[in-house]
Symmetry: C3
Subunit: 279 residues, 3 copies
Amino acid sequence: MTAAYETIRTRLDGNVLSATFDAPPINLIGPEVVRDLVGLLDELSRPGAARVVVFDSADPDFFLPHVDLTKVAEYTAEAAKGAGPGDASLGMVFRRLSESPAVTVAKLRGRARGAGSEFLLACDMRFAARESAVLGQPEVAIGAPPGAGAIQHLTRLLGRGRALEAVLTSADFDAELAERYGWVNRAVPDAELDGFVAGLAARMGEFPRDALVAAKAAVNAVSLPSSAEVRADAALFQQFVRGEPMRRRTAELFERGLQTRGRTELDLGAVVGRLEAVD
Amino acid sequence: MTAAYETIRTRLDGNVLSATFDAPPINLIGPEVVRDLVGLLDELSRPGAARVVVFDSADPDFFLPHVDLTKVAEYTAEAAKGAGPGDASLGMVFRRLSESPAVTVAKLRGRARGAGSEFLLACDMRFAARESAVLGQPEVAIGAPPGAGAIQHLTRLLGRGRALEAVLTSADFDAELAERYGWVNRAVPDAELDGFVAGLAARMGEFPRDALVAAKAAVNAVSLPSSAEVRADAALFQQFVRGEPMRRRTAELFERGLQTRGRTELDLGAVVGRLEAVD
Amino acid sequence: MTAAYETIRTRLDGNVLSATFDAPPINLIGPEVVRDLVGLLDELSRPGAARVVVFDSADPDFFLPHVDLTKVAEYTAEAAKGAGPGDASLGMVFRRLSESPAVTVAKLRGRARGAGSEFLLACDMRFAARESAVLGQPEVAIGAPPGAGAIQHLTRLLGRGRALEAVLTSADFDAELAERYGWVNRAVPDAELDGFVAGLAARMGEFPRDALVAAKAAVNAVSLPSSAEVRADAALFQQFVRGEPMRRRTAELFERGLQTRGRTELDLGAVVGRLEAVD
């Protein structure tokens, strides 16, 4: 039933599929992860697929830190295969995730920034380890508006004022603040997180599939951004990615160790607030 | 001024009407309660009616536990008399409650699940006893999406992630979590609840009626679901109610004591997570 | 670069402008404040203007207490100069503030009621001193629905139930409750507030201007009320302002010291709950 993926380890238990991101060294969202995620979405849309999927990460420090900025063209090409005809954006792949017939639950330890946070926001529910979870949208600090769903989801979940704070300050949010603002459903002590999420998932796994699917679709009808909104954000991001501020700030971050395991990635929210690039 | 109802005890004090649900043995939403609620809505729409209504329950364990599943046709027939021409659903009666010229305040002690929670969500504000309040939408666990407003209200109040958690897990929420998520305005210690709500109600009762009505209508214009959305949810529920999973799970629950005062009704959120029915 | 205003003291530091309301005796929103605010909006829309503006008050007790009710025609005439062709309302001036290319951060100490709260709601983010901040929409108690944005913003930020509570009870909210409901981004201890906001502002001031502007516009596209909604609220307010209940209640409040520094203005939320006017 469950296909093998290179960067996502899966294990089926009854009606619940565990999907663990495992793309060393730091789980960057590159072409392989996008390809595997598209494969998983295909799998989940088949009859008889798991009713519930629990996503987590094999890396305690990084859930999904952000996209691989050296491979934008490559991961976008993979997204094009999964996002639907004519669409080539991570935002449309994530929108498809939100519309999956499976219930998607994310268990967050470590960092989820940029498109990593946008992946979480596309899931149906998000539970964060109180001690270690970090969420952030560092895009504006680097020179672009977020392009894969954060604008849409954060504004709807947090309201205008807190969404503007999250997006315009590009700051890191810990689990407690993310819970208070509604970025995650709840912050849960690390020691309780696995049991808590497993309990929810097993419970939902025994509920009638058609009722789960219909209820999720009804909530989506009220809350999901339109495809046009998702496409507009993706187009804006693509435009800014090619801009001079983004180019210079990204270059400075790579000099400081971006995309390697180290202080820059661990403390990215702080680091993007101290760049020397001036525009 | 105040008509006599069989299942709702009313008492007028100045501009504030107290309305206490009293439908033994456990305040099920059956044809009598719906009929009386429709009568009360008629009364409240007359000139000179109370400016503020405070709803509570005569039963400390059950506010409104859910609909009477043995009388779906009967209570729907009563709803048809109050929901407006062509409409026969609890959701449309509750929408009319939301549009009432009176300000509606709910004081929650005990359990409000299913349509009981949806009644609360249709009120203008909700205050819950910290020690005893329980809210839940157990419908999905039993085989149907909620059909009388929970999809619309919870998604708008809680945001997509927390609404999906509430609806898809079918779990019980205590007052503290319900407050944190926005399901109720506030959780208030039981000993302070009566005084707190009475104070708010008396205060609003002295405000100019036209300003109350206009301000409420303006907030409704931003926040109420459309009639089309309410009707779609009702139609979906009616369809699932006749389905095989719902029939089998409901039968199992009745065997365990559903609709009687006892463990099953008291702990329904837990019980629906342990059903033996398999689909 | 920075013009001189009579009622707003400004100071430019790098890309961050500090703007301090200073309109003795109590910072009422009268024609001078509206004129200066319109001037500041013009300034902020010029190329090379500050990227970030931090608003605060020179008066520790009053941020902006409410409009000057003796000068409705006068401040509306000033609003007409800044709100765009054909529009003469504070609500449309505040909407223009929300659309400013500058990031607007409000630092709240003391009271912000009525249009003072609506000014805050139009800003991009709001941080409140835990010890002293008070927010309220006393309009309904006095005889009118709020007319300059509160209906739209509070409903979107707080959800229907809590927005109805805030608007219909006309009660004062302290910083802690305002944070819990989402009226402000965060309540911050007074001793930390200046440093916290200065840090955020300086940080955003170094981010690429085009990215800030584009991200804010994208969030606005999801969350700002339409001009038609803002105009409808303004028209409703203008209609109620001329009504008999509003006239009588305002007269009683002036007898009790409205618009002077004293108990009535300090405790307006309580005072409007004890008026003797009856309708």
